[in-house]
Every structure is written in structure tokens, then in C-alpha cells.
Amino acid sequence: MIIDVNTFLGHHPFRRLDGGSPAAIVAGLERVGIDQAWISNLAAVFWRDPTEGNRIVYQAATHHVCLRPVPAVHPGLPGWIEVLEEAVDRESPCVRVDPISYGIAPSGSEMLALVRAAAERNLPLQLAVRLEDSRQRHPNDLTGELPAWAVRALIRSHPEARLIVTHADRDLIEQVHFGSTPDEASRILWDICWLWGPPEDQLQLLVTTIGAGRFCFGTGMPLRIPESSIAKLELTELTPTERRAIESSNARLFARS
């Protein structure tokens, strides 16, 4: 079984992007053999109120059994606790928050309140370091990237906090992992979509130095074709147990159940 924790519905606000409809997402999953995708609303990451994109996420998950909803929560807006409650009621595996895109401090008081509230509900938070290569952004897309220090601050802020960090590169993962206690590090799951295979062998190295237990499968679809993460696993030497862990079991264990 393969679970993709990092898939988006919808459009990109700064450029044409094909493949973001629920039908196209499902077709992409079937094409490469992914069994389940956790979906967020792509355009809503850029909206003033990203929670307005949650309805379409829930709708898609209702219509397609292979899709699980990852609603957005903005801890700087009124009613965000209700967004968390709805996520719990609708059995979301996690909720996403993009503080840099929202223009709030990535480890400020609003984020710390969210970490606490999510932890109290056994709900992991999903955060993206970036969505795409900074070299290909629209000139008006000046959104920064989630810094390593913010991830460290968030995971330290509550003993039950759990984070799923997507689109992280090797350097950021190492800075956070080795800049955290073993307990803190064990409460972070990293998706593999921004780690390169051979000849750099970043995923191979990190599985050796950090362990397969800290990684999960993610594609970043439709910003990236899903074949990329599949190919990465194919070109990485993994034991069957390690591969199963990355493909699904780590995400399954991490998801709110």
C-alpha cells in the first residue's frame, strides 16, 4: 500500500497548472499505484482566508474513497478552533498550516497556540517548506520558505505535538533532526518529495543517518508528477520493511485515527 501525504487539488494562482481536478488526481494515483492521497487545496494556500478552500477538499474526499481531506487552518483568524473540531469530526488525518504564506510568524504565539490545540486533539500539523522551486516563481510570488528554526521551535513547544513537514530538502531535515532531542525528532515525519535520488542519494543517506522511520511518501502532485517519488524509491536501496514504512506504515501510524 502507498499513501501520498502531499497532494493538492485546484489551481495555482500564479500560473497554469494542469492536473488539479479530483478526477485528474485520482487518475494520477491509479497510474502509478498509489492507494490513498491526503489532499489540500492548492490555491487556498495563497488566500487571505485559506479555510475557505476546505469545503472543496471535504467534497472531493466524500466522492473519492482514496482521498482523505487535509483542511487548512489559520490560527490568526477567528474561528480556527472550530476548523480543528471539524477536521476531527470529518476524520482528517491531519490539518495543514502555511504560516509563511499567511504572513504570520512561523513560530509566533498564534502558531504555538495552534500546535497546542492540535496536540490536545491528537491531530498532526502538516507544513510545507516550499511548494515549488524558488527559481520558477512568478515575480510577484515572493513567499519565503519555512525555516528550520521554526520547525525546531514548534516541535519543542508541546510534548505531544506532531508535525508532517513536506517539501523539505536534506539540509533542513538534518538541521531539524540533529537540532532536536530524540523525542522531539520522533514526532516529526518528513515527506520525500524534495529529496534527490542518485547520484546525490540524499534519501539513501538520510535513511542511513536518520532512519526510515522518519520518512513518508509524498508527491506534491500536481506541482510534480507522481512518477518522481515512485522513481526515487525504486532507485534507493531499501529493505522491504524500510520501504513499507516509507510507503505507508509511518503515515498510517502518524495520522489521527
Binding site: R16, Q136, P198, P199, I225, E227, I230, A231, L235
Partner: protein
Amino acid sequence: MLVDVHAHFYHPASQRIDWQERNESRLAAGERIGIAWHVASILGSWGRTSPTYFPSPTDVTVGNDALLELISVHPRRIKGYVCVNPNYTEHAISEIERCVAQGMIGIKLAASRRADDALLDPIGECAAHYGLPILHHVWQHRRKEWPGQEASDAVELCQLARRHPEVSFILAHIGGGGDWRHSLHAVRRADNVFVDLSGSGVDYGMVEAALDAVGHTRLLWGADLTLCTGLAKLRYLDIVLEPAALNAVRWGNAERIFPAGVFGAAL
């Protein structure tokens, strides 16, 4: 069969202490993917003693020698582009002559001088003389200067290509970051410009847009520094192309633009 038209290797005098490991990894992954030929270049010392994109003449020679050595160790897997810095015209021409005499099959231009600059014309003339394609590092929609390189965009490469219609130019790594649609618009009517699919970018729609712009006859498969994204695009091509067109992208177009017979029996 498969030809990677955009490969790189490292060497002992380069920046990387793990150069041997990275080279071995590329070759091992190539075996798994089924790459018959890695057509590779080495950009000087990769930054150790002169900048990667502005390699000194000494480093250019050291890098080309390292590649020749690697080719001698893997004569049935690696072919070479001779890397040159066009700011040093005499040295560039002599390097091309020297390395072609030893079996190199193409020219690599990084980002030492803008593609439309007149200083690239002697290189173009030399390529025409020897019947070599030129792989040119391209920033997909430059918009502004970028640190560490005098990058060129597709419009600038097409200006050079128009001045040398008998030479095949390879626009490097359409997935190398930037607005790849901008590049594809620019090369649509540049018949002697081929697009290489390499780079870490694997956006939805990229392969289709490339095929729409240049067709399967001007598209080349390559990986550059990320073989996983190269394999991903290969898998995707399997789905969207008929077998004959797929073979053209995998190796047929490369066979057409490189000197005749260089890939030999492996194809």
C-alpha cells in the same frame, strides 16, 4: 535503448570529496534505468579553484582530462562533451581540437558568456567544422542576472542557433527551474534547437508542453543531477508516446545529432 544527453561526473581535483561515490552512484543507477550511454561533461574544478560557471582555462583542461580518463575506464558507457570557456577563444578552440581527437562527441557551454554574444561564434564555427552538437546551459526565463553565472535564456540561445544553422544546439534542462513554458515558446520554430528533458522539475504538463512545442523529433532524454526525476519523465513518456516516437526521444534523436556511429553497437 537509452542515451542520457546531459550527464556530469566529478573528479579528484573537484570540490567534492565524495566524487568517486557520486560517479559510481550515477553509473549504478544508470544500469538500473537502462542507460546505454552517459554523454557527460565536467565543468572545470566544480568551483574548487575557479567558479563552476566561469572555469579558468587551467581548470577547463583539468576537467576535460578527467573526463577523458573516465571515458577510458568506461569506454562502453561514457561519451564526452568537451567543456570550454568562450572568453578564452584560443584555449577553447584548442581544447575542442584536442578532445575531439581523443573521442569527445559534443561541446558543453555552461554560463561563462551570454549565448547570443559574438564570442560564441568561433565555438559555433568549430562545432560546424567537426559536426558536433552544443549543449548549452540555459536558465528557463532569466528575467534578471543570477549570481554565479552569466546565464542565458532560450531566446538568447535561439539567436546563436540562427547564426549557426548547420549546428544542433541542445537547450539544457527544461526541468532545471524557471518558466519552462517561456523557453518552449522560444524554441518552437528554431529547428536546430533540441530540448533536453533533464532537471529536477517534473511539473504536470511539462512533457506535454515540450512535445507540443518541438514534437518528438526535437526532444532528448537526459537526467542532469537528478536521475530520479529523469526516470520519472521516462516513465511518463512511456505513457504518452507511441513506440517509434518514444525511441526517438530515448536515443534516436541523439543518434541523429551526434557524429555518426559514435554510439555504435550499444544502440
